[in-house]
Subunit: 251 residues, 6 copies
């Protein structure tokens, strides 16, 4: 079946071709982990490489920086908007959740450009406006709404924890509301904060299970090898693995 390619070769390979069409994908990571860069690259590549139109929903009230940041990465979002291939919607979580006769703020632009991809940056901002007990229901409604519009959605979630002995996808228990989960994680190695990317869940498809190092370069996300020398990577402060020969030396 045709896949929704991110256009990042290594990531599409990890995804065995790309995301499944119409899936709601949760992209989780802490501040500075590279969620927005990956999300913009997903949209821009969609337009420029695969002819998929896209919508980028941001809860920033000053989007200038988004254009600026994207330009630094070589992406001219304004141009793509002028060509009706991309829409950037600046709103607030509560407005986005409002519905007026079933219609909400996203429906008009969806009608206009018939997008195939959408990014919500960041779903976690809902926590500012939505009481914790309603959060899961709202996320559920939203994910379902986007699905009925046949949109492949990338839902960003910002985790407060940088590292810890325990790890959960989110602190809101919404992992089961999405089809796929991609995790970005800081990993302290050799006195440096490296970054790991992992596909934790991918519904109806096989996927690469490795924790792969990645960097944010002037061209966007680049993915490298996995951290074979280390144990406890998901805790954020891994231990150097002792060589197998050593461990087995006395067997």
């Amino acid at each position: 079946m045709e896949r929704i390619k991110t256009g990042i070769a290594e990531l599409d390979a990890m995804l065995k071709g790309g995301f499944m069409p119409g899936d709601a994908v949760l992209l989780t990571g802490s501040a500075g982990s590279g969620k927005t860069t990956l999300a913009l690259q997903y949209l821009v590549n969609g337009v420029t490489k695969f002819g998929d139109k896209g919508i980028y929903v941001t809860f920033e009230e000053l989007p200038d920086q988004i254009y600026r940041d994207a330009l630094n990465l070589g992406w001219d979002l304004r141009k793509l908007e002028d060509e009706d291939k991309l829409r950037i919607i600046c709103t607030s979580p509560n407005i986005m959740l409002e519905t007026d006769e079933g219609e909400n703020i996203l429906d008009q632009p969806i009608k206009e450009i018939q997008p195939r991809r959408i990014v919500i940056d960041a779903l976690s901002h809902l926590e500012i406006f939505v009481p914790k007990e309603e959060l899961r229901r709202e996320v559920y409604r939203l994910a379902r709404h986007l699905k009925m519009k046949n949109l492949s959605s990338l839902l960003l979630w910002e985790k407060p924890e940088i590292l810890g002995q325990s790890f959960s996808v989110t602190d809101a228990g919404i992992g089961f509301l999405v089809d796929s989960i991609v995790v970005l994680k800081f990993v302290e190695i050799e006195s440096s904060m490296k970054k790991a990317l992992m596909i934790l869940k991918m519904r109806g498809s096989d996927h690469d299970k490795h924790l792969r190092e990645f960097q944010t370069t002037s061209n966007g996300i680049s993915i490298f090898a996995s951290f074979d020398e280390y144990e406890g990577i998901m805790t954020g402060s891994p231990r150097r693995r002792v060589g197998e020969r050593f461990a087995n030396a006395f067997k």
Copy 2:
């Protein structure tokens, strides 16, 4: 005594033949751990290999993906439904819990096809609708209701934690309400997220106590050897075990 076979040879062997008839089995694991695949395989094998009819209750409101995902695994659920060997019920937790003169939404299909197996995917969704203090009572009532219908039930529970120094079956303390507990767990090994399956409890029967690696393949669940080289597997971030000879070298 006759057992309810999963049809997954290694798992049935771990279960000393299969689940006990009429038991309520809790299948717990985090998002992406493979609960739904195992549950569908349990139902499909029931129909195709053992002549047990089944009901699959999902709280997804868009079941198309379920059919799609099942097809990817080689299971044609629609065909099984047309043959009245399987019912897929899309509902919401609160509706499922409602009773109208003792009758609830599950009773009609149960009457119709006289199933022997039922899956609830996922019981943890109740947390969205049921206040924490009532959750255990509702689960208790439901498990009992299914038991009185002579159904062997597989109750899925999604845990938010991927890894941690402490481990509980669920965060709702319902482990004692079920007859058996099967745990699916992510385990970080060599910079890769592997999966472990373990039978924690099996009422009135012996069972395999090992933590066995498993994978979700295009044919469903495949179970492999246990993680003999590692310590602390249940924490999700295990340590490489030092060879015994080494540890004992100086004894």
Copy 3:
């Protein structure tokens, strides 16, 4: 002084003969740790080996499985009931706690068969019905009530945690309300979930302090050696101990 023997030779040896008459014994462990098997064996051996009649209080509303499970272990509870040597009371926590002019549901059967042993399976179910702040007072009242009836009671408590860096007897702080405490614990060793039994407290008597491995066999509980090769057993995920000679090699 005469002791209340469990009839499990190794356990009675650990108890220096058995439990103290009239003591309230807390038997704590997580789901699947073997509490019910040990408790039934305590009652059945009481009747068959020591002429002690017994009462088994269960909060299961479908006791058939209890009879079935016991039969699998070679214990015919119905026969013992017919001989008025055992009573199985199926009730709910709130009913058990009710008193009508000082009389509660347990008093009638106690009068009838004059039991010497009683099991409550499981005291922790009270948490479903009794608010946390009242729990300790109710447990206190119950333990005292049973004591005044000269019953040696085995009070089962189900802990949600399977493993963790910290360990408490219960999450309700009732350890000080009982005379003795026996702990059942899962221990992950060599990629397998083994079980440990430990006597934590025994009022007015010496007792074995070791963490002993045990298994649930077709004849009930069998107790084996302690885990001499491991550290941190009580955390549930122990470390292989380095041989002493090695540690001391350089002394």
Copy 4:
């Protein structure tokens, strides 16, 4: 200055002679750690070895076991009571805290036998009756009341935690209300639950700082050497220390 001797030679040596007269001593430990045995030995030795009369306040409503347990340890409490050298007061926390015109239930027996030592077994039971926010104030009032009666008090506190990475004297933050603190702790060593005794605080006096192993024998508490071979004893699950020569071998 004269000290209040416990009569346990090693402990008195650790205390540089004994407790300070008139001090409120907190004796903390989990269920089964030996608090009551140590407390009774403190009182009995006071009477038999040092001519100090004593009061033992227990919140048990069935004190028979206390007499029985004491007899097992060779202490005939009834005889000491008959000789007006000891009073055992069975009451409940709320009654003990009541005051009627400044008089409370303890004052009468204090007047009668003019005791020098008092034990409250266990102060932590107050948590059942006193709301958390008032607990510290009540403990403060009680400790002060006993001080004004020139009593050397041993206040027992039961901790729910058996082991854990973090350690606090109590979970109620009352450590600063007492003059001295003695800690009893379970320590898992070589698959056995050993016990450690430590003097954490002793106001106005030097004291032994070691974590000493102790056992409860048929003659009461016996104190042995410290755990020199281990690290992390206070966590309850210590690590075997690597020999110093080894660690320094390469210096």
Copy 5:
């Protein structure tokens, strides 16, 4: 693009030139980690080396010490104020948050000296006056307000934790409200509390990922090498890394 230089050579190098103009930068660290020193140096260097006027908002009610401390570091804040190159505003969080027709206490001085840099010392003080649920909204409003004034802001946040197995940028989950995040952290090494500086996030720019040691000297912040010999630096209590050759020796 032109950058906002801190004037600390090594830090500007880590920032690839300096902060981005108009960015809101969160500077987080525990008490004594050096936040105020770094913030003053940022302002003073702005004035003396780059001609950027600045505002320093403090919630101290006795600013004399600020002048004194700055003098100790060789910075004459009074002189800079007299020259209208710096404003020091002593206020309280609630006053700073008040707005009177859109105008708040910061707007007047901003009009007067047209600053380019502003420091809020410390944003975390808001927790004393603003209920937790409103905190994020207030920080959001403030950061946006400063941005619309074209100010490059340094927002200080004091973390209570000195060390721990888990690490979050703040305990208020505001990391996503800022453009960049600089972390100051205590690190226990060789029985000494050293300090680490790390750039966790820098929007629209590459940056150094290392954990660099720094000290507060009589001339302000000095930055040194990273902690290459250690693992788990972000936990605050790192482990000495075993030499790679050793780990690989047996490969």
Copy 6:
């Protein structure tokens, strides 16, 4: 600038001469860590060695023990009071916080003897009387009040935790309200509870960063070397450090 010397040579050296005049110093540590001894020594040395008068505020209602304890350390507080060089104020937290026309209970003695030093033993007692949400505001007001009286204050804070993987200065988040922070900590080493002293923060001055061992002797506090052989001292249960040569042997 002239400093406020503690008169403890090693500590003054760590403080590069002493505390800064007029600073509010937080002295934090758990029960038995030696806070009161250090505080009294600070006051007595102030009087006897540096001619600084002092006030000691205690929330003990029975100050006799304070005099007794001080005498054991060779300090005759009564004599110093008679000479109007020291005032000991026994009060309760709520009374101390009351103000009557701006005047509070401390102002009269301050007027009388014109002290330069003050100790509050212990600020943490406020938690008994002041609701958590007001605590920081009250501490803020108090510290400011003492500052305006030109007093160098030593504010004692009792932490409940003895050891733990995480460490905060206080559990009330008041670290930012004081100018300097001195931490006293128990450290388990070789089966003994040793004590460490550390200067965590010192506003406007350099200071020693080491974790130094100290003891309470018959002459007060004595400070020794740092714990160079250990890692994780701040956790309270450190690990023996492996010799550097060993770690580097294979480099």
